[in-house]
């Protein structure tokens, strides 16, 4: 049966937004659209704040603390008071382009989330309206899916996942650094402040999201057809599956919290918020 002859026997494609659904079907894509848009706008703004090397609001060192915004970690580049490993900026960076240390960092988590299976399904609905929600008419007649360029590039997801796992280790180190405070004697003292908790929760949520990745689930054991032959892979698969079951929840919580972490450190660095210290040894 030829394509057209079978398609011609089917009901005509519904018009955009056409549905007999009686629930508030537009609410979910609207919330996703607003949530993702707010994060994209804020994170872009936060990245661009790093173009001014006279300020360093992505790092808070007041009261002996050492909090680095996750948008700027690791500190590959940076100026006083938080210099980067490779200096202020790369020598080859074109002078006419603004430079922020965040440019070298944020493309990795952004790429990881952009190609994430949860985010794909969510933004195809909320931004591309393809479909805007289940059983609701969509605006376009043609459809290529992820079979052809550009969306076939989503298959690069596992490579972003490898980089994202490295970031979890780096952010874990940042959370650890956030537990050490410089004292009046010049030494480092173990302590706990609100900022320390913010950084710890940040790495826990990002870890829960990253380690529940569908690609990781496949790579640690999902590729097997017989788990009994490899118990280690089966255990890893089951562990990732535990996190993967709530992947959407981890995705949202980690997205909100990583943004909040930057806000917290920025406001502390600007002197607007005071970082409350619980104790120091």
């Amino acid at each position: 049966m030829a394509t057209m002859s079978y398609a011609s026997t089917l009901p005509k494609q519904a018009k955009f937004g056409e549905t007999t659904r009686s629930d508030v079907w537009w609410m979910q894509p609207l919330v996703v659209f607003l949530g993702f848009s707010a994060f994209i706008v804020y994170s872009t703004w936060a990245a661009l704040q790093g173009t001014d090397i006279s300020t360093c609001y992505y790092w808070f060192g007041g009261n002996g603390a050492n909090y680095l915004s996750p948008f700027y970690s690791p500190a590959l580049f940076g100026s006083t008071p938080h210099p980067g490993i490779f200096g202020v900026m790369p020598a080859w960076w074109p002078a006419f382009l603004p430079f922020s240390p965040a440019f070298f960092i944020m493309w990795i988590p952004a790429g990881f989330r952009f190609t994430c299976y949860y985010y794909r399904g969510a933004y195809y609905k909320a931004f591309w309206l393809d479909p805007v929600n289940c059983a609701v008419g969509e605006p376009r007649k043609s459809y290529l899916g992820e079979r052809y360029l550009p969306l076939i590039l989503q298959n690069v997801h596992r490579y972003f996942m490898y980089l994202a796992v490295v970031f979890i280790l780096i952010l874990g180190r940042d959370a650890w650094d956030g537990l050490w405070f410089k004292g009046a004697d010049g030494g480092e003292h173990f302590g706990l402040a609100v900022g320390s908790l913010v950084l710890i929760v940040n790495v826990v949520l990002l870890g829960g999201y990253t380690l529940g990745c569908h690609s990781l689930r496949h790579l640690v054991g999902g590729f097997l057809d017989s788990f009994s032959k490899n118990k280690a892979c089966a255990s890893c698969f089951n562990a990732v599956t535990c996190l993967n079951k709530k992947h959407m929840l981890w995705a949202w919580m980690s997205l909100i919290w990583v943004g909040f972490t930057d806000v917290y450190i920025r406001l502390c660095a600007m002197g607007i918020w005071h970082d409350f210290r619980f104790f120091t040894f």
Partner: protein, 248 residues
């Protein structure tokens, strides 16, 4: 006892319209009960496919207030009945009459998928040995009752009519059950990528949401198959890893 109004699609493959029926409904009734009552008292010629009334035969699939659902598993207290309830046939398949659609395309698709091909028997008596943990994963897929609600809600079929290029979520689940089976030796990955069009799936998870058997279609069947396609066709490091990684 309360009065409910059902707007039921009446028509054939040429044309049709929603017709209003008002009847009395009592506590515990499901949508299929109301449809049967209307059929018995007001519209004797209304076509409606059903069989078990227990959510196990997959016959009474329809769209209730726009959501693909089994009529026999949708209780009236699950939907707002203070407003008219809309009952339509599935949109992804050709209409035969009223609420009945021609789902034979699905059976033609099933024939295209490479069949189960087990390894040689493990024992001299021609039997195999498997561990429970090896079949746990595919057991979920065998719950499918072939109601085709997942096919109906999938926008690739429903809106874009890619029936000749995409096998749909039901048959991706079927393929996953075969492909992940510990005894199976067949390779279906090249077909999945090309003829079966897994790349058309854009992970909206609508299929998972409507499945009456609560099969985690997207996360446990489609995405793992997509990852296997990536292994074979898009991951240069993976080709190396495939040589080195554990077998099984």
């Amino acid at each position: 006892m309360s009065t409910v109004t059902f707007k039921i699609w009446r028509g054939d493959k040429e044309s049709g319209k929603l017709v209003d029926y008002t009847t009395e409904a009592s506590e515990g009734m499901v949508v299929l009960d109301v449809v049967h009552k209307i059929q018995a008292t007001q519209a004797n010629d209304m076509a409606c496919r059903w069989n078990c009334k227990a959510g196990k035969c997959g016959s009474c699939s329809a769209e209730i207030n726009g959501k693909p659902s089994l009529m026999c598993m949708t209780r009236l207290d699950m939907i707002p009945i203070d407003k008219p309830v809309t009952i339509q046939p599935m949109r992804a398949f050709p209409s035969i009459r009223d609420l009945v659609t021609d789902v034979s395309w699905n059976f033609r698709v099933k024939k295209k998928i490479k069949q189960f091909k087990p390894r040689p028997p493990d024992a001299p008596d021609g039997t195999w040995r498997m561990q429970q943990e090896d079949v746990d994963r595919v057991q979920e897929f065998r719950k499918c009752i072939e109601c085709f609600l997942c096919q109906d809600v999938c926008h690739v079929l429903r809106d874009h009519h890619k029936h000749e290029e995409f096998i749909g979520p039901r048959y991706l689940v079927y393929t996953a059950a075969l492909e992940m089976h510990p005894l199976d030796t067949e390779d279906r990955i090249p077909e999945l990528k090309e003829a079966h069009g897994i790349g058309y799936c854009n992970i909206t998870k609508c299929c998972t949401k409507v499945c009456p058997e609560h099969i985690t279609i997207t996360d446990n069947a489609i995405i793992p198959l997509k990852e296997r396609v990536v292994d074979d066709f898009y991951d240069p490091l993976g080709w190396l890893w495939k040589i080195l990684r554990p077998k099984g």
